[in-house]
Chain length 226, copies 2
Amino acid sequence: MALSPQDWEVVTRAPLFKAMGPTITRTMIGDRPPRAYARGETVFEQGEPADGFFCIVDGWAKLYRLREDGEEVVVAIFAPGETFAEVAMFLGGRYPASAEAVSNARILKIDAASLRRAVMAEPQLAFDMLAASSIRLRQLVDEIEQLKARSAPQRIADFFVKHASAASGPVRLALPYEKALIASRLGMKPESFSRALGKLAVVGVAVERDWVAIADIARLAAFAEG
Amino acid sequence: MALSPQDWEVVTRAPLFKAMGPTITRTMIGDRPPRAYARGETVFEQGEPADGFFCIVDGWAKLYRLREDGEEVVVAIFAPGETFAEVAMFLGGRYPASAEAVSNARILKIDAASLRRAVMAEPQLAFDMLAASSIRLRQLVDEIEQLKARSAPQRIADFFVKHASAASGPVRLALPYEKALIASRLGMKPESFSRALGKLAVVGVAVERDWVAIADIARLAAFAEG
DNA sequence: CGCGGCGTTGATCTCTGTCAATACTTGTGG
DNA sequence: CCACAAGTATTGACAGAGATCAACGCCGCG
């Protein structure tokens, strides 16, 4: 088997695979091992034919778009157990954004043809995928809402809260990638990110290198809500 | 027949119905007539059981969410021949947003069971819906990008360009609903909208009542890009 | 040791939201 | 038919958040 039991556990966390159930999932993944990517390596480029979707087994990847002026806008960052580009496959066959590994990573690719076969054989799957797509839609809408309604420090606080495992008490959190990347993800400039981080000191956030020490995650969550 | 030939023509413009073909479409719509809504009337509320989707026959409707602080955020505005809430139906059975008629309108409701049957009978339909949903996703991603990267006047310019039929030359465009609604759709306050409209004068946009006269739509498009 | 990338800090500026006052439009009732 | 009220749009003054530009510090690496 190509996936270790630990990897398998990670992969099946993805809502899409959960919806499929283990049998179909196993059929679709087959025995192809995940491909290893080096930090900075491209997974796919905007405009390429979209012939498959991806699931992160290990590491991190970013989805981004290049504007005409060359500025890069990070659309999403994916963690282990998350799938991406599933829906893009259905859109004219081209990826609407580029993806790149932001750390060394292992990423599983599932090709479009397998998926198509699976859906044709099991129409319920299509419903599950529609539901997954609908969840994503909602997340995006949430994000737009956040962008307007929350200040930079609040968005950062929210980011930390979402990445923390614990729900309360003190937390020590690694910043998994460059601060400029997080900044872009949160819709602000690196300078603003830096300053906003400073403002979080009053709610018990201390920064050291690429770690943050949070005195009480619950307090931070409260701050993020506004 | 419940739909007049003109109405029928409008309804079949919707990509979803086009994908179904006339026979399935007719079966799904049956002979129920569209319901008439008064301006301001609610179509459905956030959190209600999602037991159907909608197609605008005539008039306009908005999809919106209420934030905790009571602020209303307009997520989308729908025109005749557009369907909405198709995908939402598959998500846990609740509408994730509210919808309201913004003008007197006639709106067709197609119940979820019919759609489900149609998809089960014709799995290809699911792909079409996934494609539609993926277009929405892309629009939203674009929107986030715009919100972060473009100024208010640029977003308005973009709105006009997207609504204009021509690609170049002079255009006279109707503002089909209240300016405050457009403002909310574009993520700004009515005051900002008003001022930003004024700033568009330098790129050949004149406002009169609820019409805008655009000297050269191509020039406006260039301005929107930044 | 010096260079380059990343992050921080400081000064300043621009945009947009906020609050408030004022027109303009439309509909209503006398 | 007019007067008034309510809703909608514009305009002005002001404040705050974040962007921008520029300088500097930190650290890893050749």
